[in-house]
């Protein structure tokens, strides 16, 4: 508390620089948590590998325009059931708690290994909770891939409703198309579903305000 100096706003004594700095840092924390609608800073239990993070961000920066007032989310898959077949897997995503936002863009990024024998046909299902015996599944998209490397597969945003709060399961069913029968018989991993090239979802949302589009056009 500086004896001689006076606060120009309220006329009270000013703060020592260290005290003012500590107050500013506390204010910054409050302001950011409020802005992100969080009650406390997130404790990250499973941070994605740095290499996977860097690669995903680099892919998104190419030509992606941040939605006005909206959000962009990258969600990395955890593999819950890599079945014995060459590339069918169950991918589980823990999505952020949905705020009053409208999902309008969804892409699944997959890395196809160089072992790809010719053309690969891939079907993507949304996997629901078990009803009766088998899990219920909804076909979201079907793609054919002929080259190894990264593929961004567009998904219908309307179909990506998370069953349990925040948990989305996608089932990948794929098979090499005929034509290269010798290769098709040799079961080899075709999709990279772990490590630094694990699949990730790219989602874009915008606020749900009614008529937001009209307001913007006006």
């Amino acid at each position: 508390q500086g004896a001689e100096s006076v606060c120009p706003s309220c006329g009270g004594p000013t703060l020592e620089p260290q005290a003012e700095r500590a107050l500013v840092l506390e204010l910054a924390k409050q302001q950011i948590l409020e802005g992100l609608q969080l009650t406390s800073r997130p404790r990250i239990t499973h941070p994605p590998p740095q290499a996977a993070l860097t690669r995903a961000l680099r892919r998104l920066q190419q030509g992606s325009v941040a939605p006005e007032n909206g959000e962009e989310v990258i969600s990395f898959a955890t593999i819950t059931d890599s079945s014995t077949s060459t590339c069918s897997s169950m991918l589980t995503f823990h999505l952020p708690t949905p705020r009053s936002y409208h999902l309008y863009h969804a892409r699944l990024w997959l890395h196809v290994l160089p072992t790809l024998p010719g053309t690969l046909s891939l079907r993507i299902f949304r996997w629901g909770p078990r009803r009766k015996r088998r899990g219920s599944r909804v076909l979201l998209a079907e793609h054919q891939m002929t080259t190894p490397g990264w593929h961004a597969l567009t998904l219908p945003s309307s179909g990506l409703r998370a069953e349990e709060p925040g948990v989305l399961k996608l089932r990948l069913d794929c098979r090499p198309l005929e034509g290269n029968s010798t290769a098709a018989r040799q079961p080899r991993w075709l999709l990279d579903t772990t490590g630094e090239q694990r699949p990730f979802l790219e989602l874009k949302t915008r606020p749900n305000e009614p008529g937001a589009g009209r307001a913007r056009r006006r």
Partner: protein
């Protein structure tokens, strides 16, 4: 808006740069590395009331003189933000998702007397 100097008693913008390292938050806020936490402080004598706080036009200068010569100040006036801009943040949420969002009205760019 004038940036506050130590001896500036009138309404001005006080600039503070906050590095997320100082908050110990660099592990979950990926971009940017910090941001400007500015706030407004200073007195608003009657003749400054209602002034935009930036380069005032001739009209508002005359208007201020009229107010200054008015012996009955119309209530008190406060030093408040008059222009703010959003802050774009890239951060990790508790499930390890990367979220990019714009937080509206985060950075005070100009102050003025209400």
């Amino acid at each position: 808006t004038p940036t506050c100097e130590p001896e500036t008693p009138l309404c001005c913008r006080r600039d503070h740069y906050v590095d997320f390292q100082d908050l110990g938050w660099r592990d979950w806020i990926l971009q940017p590395e910090g941001y400007q936490l500015n706030f407004c402080s200073g007195q608003c004598p009657p003749h400054l009331a209602g002034s935009p706080g930036i380069a005032a036009s001739f009209h508002s200068a005359v208007f201020s003189l009229l107010k200054a010569n008015n012996p009955w100040p119309l209530g008190t006036s406060c030093c408040v933000p008059t222009a703010r801009r959003p802050l774009s943040l890239l951060y990790l949420d508790r499930d390890g998702n990367v979220v990019k969002t714009d937080v509206p009205d985060m950075v005070v760019e100009a102050c003025g007397c209400s």
